[in-house]
Symmetry: C2
Subunit: 314 residues, 2 copies
């Protein structure tokens, strides 16, 4: 009985130590080192090399170590076994911290005041608007979107959500499907993207979508916050709309290629805030415990929690 750790982009050693501690009865194997492929019954993965999970005849399930599973589902050689993702209240809280902080920074013009501080300028120009004046639109109303929407509402923002189902939440109007996307965008000053990356959503944050955002808002132009996946966005078109001034600000935690290239214009564009895909990094120990909990469930014949539907893509 061996757990295979298939990780790239993150430090692998802490994960090995963690699972050794949490699963003392089990062997831990790592990609790149020799191991008995027949012994592997479970795998934990984060951006595994495509194909590296194939040829494991006794594999029972694969666990994504993050909320996203696009890194798994895009592997054409992904074995036909149950896939589960991490749904961790800690991760959800952290995503909402990020979303609420950046919505407040946009509302309160924090970058402008930081700039004024650097110039020693005391200007209390009384142009501060209230949260109720700013219309936030959240694309993707899963666990993360719902939690962010509820917390933005508590802060007083005017919030709507767009999703497949379009369900209303308390005080948050839901817009459903492609036919209602234009109406949703037209009432949105700050677009918060928390969609999963699927074949349908890839590249959805493009110039045409940004052109549909509200032009009559209190910030003098719309803003974008993408804390979902880099593959959702068409980066050249975002830069184009920023250059033209039709998009006032973009807060980007995710990119087509990560780490973001040193020569990317996103780093230096005055209308862009870059964060290094850290909007919602969960506590690795908590993730480890969640994976072990699922393995114990399977051992007891119980179904997986948070199983992924490969056809839906999340």
């Amino acid at each position: 009985m061996t757990l295979l750790v298939a990780i790239t982009g993150w430090q692998v050693e802490p994960w090995i130590d963690r699972f050794r501690r949490l699963l003392p009865e089990r062997g831990i194997a790592v990609l790149g080192e020799p191991f008995d492929r027949r012994a592997v019954d479970y795998a934990v993965a984060w951006k595994h090399p495509p194909g590296s999970l194939a040829g494991l005849p006794n594999l029972g399930a694969v666990f994504s170590l993050g909320a996203g599973v696009d890194h798994l589902l895009s592997d054409p050689k992904l074995p036909d076994v149950p896939i589960a993702r991490v749904v961790d209240s800690d991760l959800t809280n952290r995503m909402s911290e990020y979303v609420v902080m950046h919505c407040l920074m946009l509302l309160r013009q924090q970058r402008r005041y930081a700039d004024r501080q650097a110039k020693r300028l005391w200007l209390d120009d009384k142009d501060q608007r209230a949260a109720a004046d700013l219309r936030i639109g959240i694309m993707g109303m899963g666990v993360l979107g719902k939690d962010a929407a509820a917390k933005l509402r508590v802060m007083g923002f005017d919030v709507a959500g767009w999703s497949r189902s379009g369900a209303d939440l308390d005080g948050v109007v839901g817009y459903a499907g492609a036919e209602n996307l234009p109406a949703f965008l037209a009432r949105t000053d700050v677009l918060v993207v928390l969609l999963p990356l699927t074949p349908e959503t890839r590249g959805i944050v493009n110039g045409a979508l940004l052109d549909g955002l509200a032009r009559d808002g209190v910030l003098g132009g719309p803003a974008l916050i993408n804390a979902g996946r880099g593959g959702l966005q068409v980066e050249e078109e975002i830069l184009d709309r920023l250059d033209r001034g039709s998009l006032k600000h973009a807060v980007l935690d995710v990119f087509n290629a990560e780490p973001l290239a040193a020569d990317s214009r996103f780093w230096t564009h005055p209308g862009v805030t870059v964060t290094p895909h850290n909007a919602a990094m969960s506590d690795p120990d908590a993730i480890g415990r969640l994976v072990v909990r699922q393995i114990r469930r399977l051992e007891q014949g119980l179904p997986l929690e948070n199983a992924v539907d490969p056809r839906r893509g999340y």
Copy 2:
């Protein structure tokens, strides 16, 4: 029947226009221009020149145009008439926006990531802590403190409050009075000051108080947010603790002298965020309507709402 507008530091014309519109039956008088002192039955004030409200024989009440009344109560020639202050849900919401935004920016190390963006550094060093790991302590649990505490709790922070009464709120432990101040400070990583300015609270945010803050928190040192009154703080001692590194960051919206002098070290200190007393600027139209509502109540023989107790100081 004349309303006297006694304002310094703000533009006076918009206030005159506003009250002319809201009280068409009434004369509007302004300091610095001739007016009949016997006709004045009400005054609205913000940082009026001390003594300027004396010698108004028919004055019935004075309304502060902000939440604070220290600018009124510190006038030795303040007439002995009822004083009322503005308690406006819009102002309360805005103060909570400010407090939650700055607590999140401290938690999420937003200044550090902005600095890294400027250097084109992609470092996802996984040292992000969750809101539950950060202990916020609010001094002053009036309307503003309670609202901020509730919203910080929703975001997941570990919140306590210190006040005269020490009442607990939902999930927020209350500490009462001077004898419990050391225990409150010892469990506080981020101190949020929302106290009124009274003879008892003047200078309360001094070096000794800052030295009492927690040293074992997740940010590597305590932080201060003062969005109350400048007179609460001893500025040289705050700078001294920042210089020594025993205070990690100070977010200051208020100062001993405003506007902040161009040569103040606060502007340029790397551990200081300066905002120009704009944490909670209410909508002037809303304030005007609240004042008119009180005048109408007095005309109908009803008691003032939000009357100030001069002995208590707020």
